[in-house]
Symmetry: C2
Subunit: 327 residues, 2 copies
């Protein structure tokens, strides 16, 4: 197999010069250029990503840590990130962390050893583990360290919008099914929802799910919902959890939206598939995914990027689960 050393030898030129030529990052004389081109054609050389990575320190790979690939929001986001990164010349290492600190820590080591050019850490469960990482990192949702950019939707305001919609639809006996405390995003949805309810003097009952959607959890979490008939409005922390709650409600013989109205969060595709279709708060997945990749590549290229929280607007998507029922 041809490599840089072989090219240098055949062309009678130093390895450093061939490297500068191949990576287009420094002076190469016209004479050397011609010699290298002839040899490259002779050897039928295709640059090897590994070799290039060792010379340029840019492996053109990004480590993408996703907490739960089975959650439609995160698999839509992974597809968008993968697609956009590919157009930018980067390949994605997929790491499914299951919101597990040990798994994430282990992946951090693997990604470093593969010398990825950058890391996207979605809903990170780690903090100090990132202190000595000398690879650019972008955080999605959960904050990691002060010097790491965090991107997220406006979850607090999304929670407020969710309450105001249920209230405006006439709901007064309201349940919020919240996510685990270690999810910053769903904590903000919860706070926004409660603050908006307080402003209208409405008391909210709370049930906490212990994890993001997991196939094996389908039945477990629903046991925590007692007296489901007491409510006329329910806000669930994400769409896929809302789907499981909707099944539970329908199975109990309760009519949606006639007897109870439901609102989710994410605007992932699952909501459009359900019957009735799910009203939700939209996170702009496309915008989030491309912004994450753009900022990360800027960091990789050493461009100046403002280290701050980037917060993207959320909005109401009205569907059938909150329709006003006409007699």
């Amino acid at each position: 197999m041809s490599n840089i050393r072989e090219i240098a030898k055949k062309a009678g030129i130093s390895i450093a010069t061939v490297s500068r030529y191949l990576n287009d990052n420094g002076y190469v004389s016209e004479e050397a250029r011609k010699k290298i081109q002839v040899v490259i054609e002779e050897l039928n050389y295709t640059p090897n990503a590994l070799a290039r990575a060792m010379f340029t320190k840019n492996s053109k790979t990004i480590g993408l840590m996703i907490p739960n690939i089975s959650n439609p929001f995160f698999n839509q986001m992974a597809a968008i990130i993968e697609d956009y990164a590919k157009n930018m010349g980067y390949t994605i290492f997929l790491c499914n962390t299951d919101d597990d600190k040990e798994k994430e820590k282990n992946y951090l080591e693997v990604l470093q050893s593969h010398r990825v050019a950058g890391i996207i850490a979605s809903r990170s469960q780690c903090k100090e583990e990132y202190v000595n990482i000398d690879i650019p990192v972008i955080a999605f949702e959960n904050h990691i360290l002060d010097n790491i950019i965090t991107i997220s939707s406006d979850n607090y305001n999304g929670g407020k919008i969710a309450f105001e919609h249920l209230y405006q639809r006439g709901c007064r006996k309201i349940l919020h099914i919240k996510g685990p405390q270690c999810f910053e995003a769903t904590e903000l949805r919860y706070t926004g929802f409660l603050d908006a309810a307080k402003a209208k003097n409405i008391k909210i009952d709370i049930v906490e799910f212990q994890s993001d959607f997991q196939v094996k959890m389908l039945e477990v979490d629903k046991k925590s919902i007692k007296n489901i008939r007491d409510y006329d409005g329910i806000f669930v922390f994400n769409d896929i959890a809302a789907a499981t709650v909707m099944r539970f409600i329908k199975k109990s013989g309760i009519q949606i939206p006639q007897e109870v109205k439901i609102i989710g969060f994410d605007n992932s595709f699952i909501g459009e598939l359900l019957y009735p279709s799910l009203t939700t708060i939209s996170q702009p997945i496309e915008k989030l995914g491309t912004m994450i990749v753009q900022l990360l590549i800027k960091l990789i290229n050493g461009e100046e990027v403002l280290i701050k929280d980037y917060i993207i607007e959320t909005q109401l998507i009205e569907r059938e689960t909150t329709k006003v029922f006409k007699l």
Copy 2:
């Protein structure tokens, strides 16, 4: 950053010896071993995957081509492959091909340039593009070349089981919604279903969807289903497509399973989430995922593996969409 060259220099030992030591693949004298260990501790050396890959020709990475990460079957499978591969010391490059030949071809080049140790090609749309690939490949579902192992579920028999179940539940006016012709697996489901119907002298109406589930296709395919009220039994080529069809049926005011019974294929988590829950034919995702990785790693390690079709049994999973309705 410490590297193999630095270790060799400090230890006063050849690079080849250090490489043999680090990769545990050849004789290293006890004396050399001790010297290397002292230097490694001094330098606080962690082996670099790129350097190791260049020395051992095993990058410990696997390229996973998935046709559609938003299909719950494929995202469950990706999670299982990623998890199992990680336990075997491999990291996964995720490639979402969208069942697009050009995208797949392009990814093949990217994966080669990254010198992945092996490739998993799910539902490949390519053939001759794999002729000159000197990296071990395992195909899932679609066959590629005679010298490439193909793993799949027993889709033909699954199709037969699907028909027999609908027939046994009393369905006689039956519709099959089939997948695109370029999906070998769903073509076999279709053939098995039709053969079983022929044996019982039942005529089957056919509608063909033009792609796997795509968010943007949610409404498009359903337009091809005319006269939905004519049927008392429907077999849909996969669970996620069945979910979209179920929404269409419920929206039309038709009762499932009282007026029409539905059966899907995959046993992906979506079926348990729906109301009524979806009867389906199970593909053993866990078994398929681990078997794919096991066989691929055997090929990577140069172990002998029989080149043939590996076909895993499918079975009926009865749920609510085919329940007998009691008056």
